[in-house]
């Protein structure tokens, strides 16, 4: 297993390097970065000044190695807009995004796992069909639209929950629900199919032959085995949620990392864009590594190998 994890870590490193390259290339897509920064009203002279000031006059390759070198030492560049290190900006915004992501994940798991179990226990029944219909509907729901609907109906008409900002903890609930919606279908399907397989397995027949209670059979013996892939996918889903929170943060005016990215994109603050892309990619890579690790811990067959 140590070799397996070492291989995975090496792969993660290679992926990180590739993403580093992509995020660098991304900001050079426009052709001339200095022109973009200077804006449409700038004179040729202004552009030259900016080009010099940001080191954009140097060869592309030199700029690239600068970026890789400083990124490796934790320096993700400076914001043109805030005149602060991009890493610091991300660190300041991270708690909001992380809280939002974890809230979303909790809501998603607390919804998807019980519903998935219920659907599996009544496989083929009307209840099963109804639950799977929820999955299809969840998949079709545009998240930003759902967010707006919740703001109108729950926030404004019913006045149950705050609709923007996170001055209090309950500000995370509505955006958390919207974020959870994107992960629920996949997690629910996975729980259901895992439970269907587990419930039909020989060891469940053994558990029944032992006279165990229904709760013990379903929750201890079946769920434990069905949960292994769910846990791994949940970690990956958290990654998607963090990088997908950009839409939800803008709907609910949450000033998290996603919002920072969007703001930087609309204001041509390229070092920050570059940094946010890289940061989210690394978070995702770490989460997939974590998923592998969790799988290895949960599955005794992998632990020994």
């Amino acid at each position: 297993m140590v070799t397996f994890l070492a291989r995975r870590a090496l792969l993660a490193l290679l992926v990180t390097l590739t993403v580093l390259t992509i995020s660098f290339a991304l900001t050079r897509l426009s052709g001339d970065l200095a022109v973009s920064i200077a804006g449409p009203q700038a004179t040729a002279q202004d552009v030259e000044i900016i080009r010099k000031a940001y080191g954009l006059d140097r060869p592309l390759l030199a700029q690239f190695f600068d970026w890789v070198g400083s990124a490796a030492s934790g320096d993700l560049g400076r914001s043109y807009l805030y005149h602060e290190p991009a890493a610091k900006l991300i660190r300041e915004r991270l708690p909001v995004t992380l809280t939002l992501g974890l809230t979303g994940l909790c809501i998603a798991l607390l919804t998807a796992i019980p519903l998935g179990i219920l659907a599996a226990m009544r496989e083929g029944s009307l209840l099963d069909r109804a639950i799977m219909l929820i999955a299809v509907i969840g998949q079709a729901m545009p998240s930003f639209w759902l967010g707006l609907l919740l703001i109108i109906w729950v926030g404004l008409k019913l006045q149950l929950l705050p609709i923007s900002g996170v001055d209090t903890w309950d500000g995370y609930i509505l955006p958390g629900i919207v974020l959870a919606f994107s992960a629920i279908p996949a997690l629910m399907r996975l729980t259901r199919s895992g439970m269907v397989d587990a419930l039909a397995s020989d060891y469940i027949r053994t558990a029944r032959a032992k006279g165990l209670s229904r709760a013990s059979i379903v929750l201890k013996h079946a769920l434990r085995n069905a949960a292994m892939p769910v846990v791994a996918v949940a970690a990956v889903q958290l990654g998607f949620m963090l990088s997908g929170s950009i839409v939800i943060e803008s709907v609910f005016s949450l000033h998290g990392v996603g919002y920072l990215g969007w703001e930087s994109i609309s204001k041509n603050d390229f070092p920050v864009v570059q940094a946010v892309v890289l940061f989210l990619a690394i978070v995702y890579i770490c989460l997939t590594l974590l998923a592998d690790l969790l799988n290895a811990v949960l599955d005794p067959r992998l632990r020994a190998a």
């Binding site: 590739t18 009307l126 545009p142 639209w145 997908g244």
Partner: protein, 280 residues
């Protein structure tokens, strides 16, 4: 267990009707619209749908903040959604299927490279990168299509790869090898036809995803540029008025939701019909 086949068949039929209906609206939009979707009439702004109080029979779904007919914009918006969906699937399908089939068929080093590409693609934050690209190159329909196409090939690649691996070991492929057929012949004539039903199902999933993503990009102001009536953009433009007249976001939102739901239903139906698995 078969469960309730009629229910599934009804859903699939409903999906087909929705998708064909939207496609029809998209193709014949100029003939169907009651008004010019770009024509502003500042005297008739924010007219509610005709069944609501203050509605006008001339504007079935009302008008927007610039007095443009909502129904006409909705019909033209179908063009954008369908165009984005179809073109993105073609682009991403070409990339993903090529990579997946090559990896699954040749295995070894080739497969390592393909797997690496898939891992890299999944690590990249989708929406953020799409937004940056559109912002840097400039927003237009073409840019959005190609950006999404270049980003959404991962599922095609994963499914093409696994199914190719399964097909490769089947008897008739071995027989073709033994008969001395060339690699390209085997790939195109033996492998591809036998995985295509899985790929069709993936295509529906990706089409739905592309349509949702375009709407999200347009909603954030970095998708298709105004005054094009993308449904996402319509929601974005209307959201300042939604507290007083919620229908302004309901109309395009429901259109988007119904279309994506229809595509998903159709995909589920095709999966049943073609005997494909969900993610292979």
């Amino acid at each position: 267990m078969s469960g309730f086949p009629p229910l599934r068949r009804i859903a699939a039929g409903l999906g087909a009707v929705i998708v064909l209906g939207v496609a029809f609206a998209a193709i014949f939009a100029p003939l169907l619209v009651p008004h010019d979707p770009f024509l502003q009439d500042l005297n008739q702004r924010m007219v509610p749908p005709s069944w609501m109080e203050g509605g006008m029979p001339a504007h079935l779904f009302g008008t927007d903040q610039l007095g443009r007919d909502y129904l006409s914009r909705l019909i033209y918006g179908a063009r954008i959604s369908m165009l984005i969906g179809v073109m993105t699937v073609i682009t991403s399908g070409l990339i993903g299927i090529t990579l997946g089939v090559l990896g699954g068929f040749f295995g070894g080093r080739v497969d390592d490279v393909v797997m690496f590409a898939i891992t890299c693609r999944l690590s990249i934050p989708l929406i953020l990168v799409a937004l940056s690209v559109v912002s840097l190159i400039g927003s237009s329909l073409t840019v959005v299509v190609f950006t999404l196409g270049l980003l959404l090939w991962d599922r095609f690649a994963v499914v093409a790869r696994t199914t190719t691996m399964q097909v490769r070991t089947l008897d008739y492929v071995s027989a073709a090898w033994a008969a001395g057929c060339s690699r390209s012949y085997i790939l195109l004539r033996e492998v591809l036809p036998n995985i295509v039903h899985h790929l069709i199902v993936v295509a529906t999933l990706e089409m739905a995803l592309a349509i949702l993503l375009e709407a999200a990009l347009s909603f954030l102001g970095l998708g298709v540029p105004p005054p094009l009536p993308s449904w996402g953009l319509m929601i974005s433009e209307a959201k300042d008025y939604m507290f007083f007249s919620p229908w302004v976001i309901m109309v395009p939102g429901i259109a988007l939701f119904v279309l994506v739901l229809g595509i998903n239903f159709l995909g589920d139906g095709l999966r049943d019909l073609l005997g494909a698995t969900r993610d292979a």
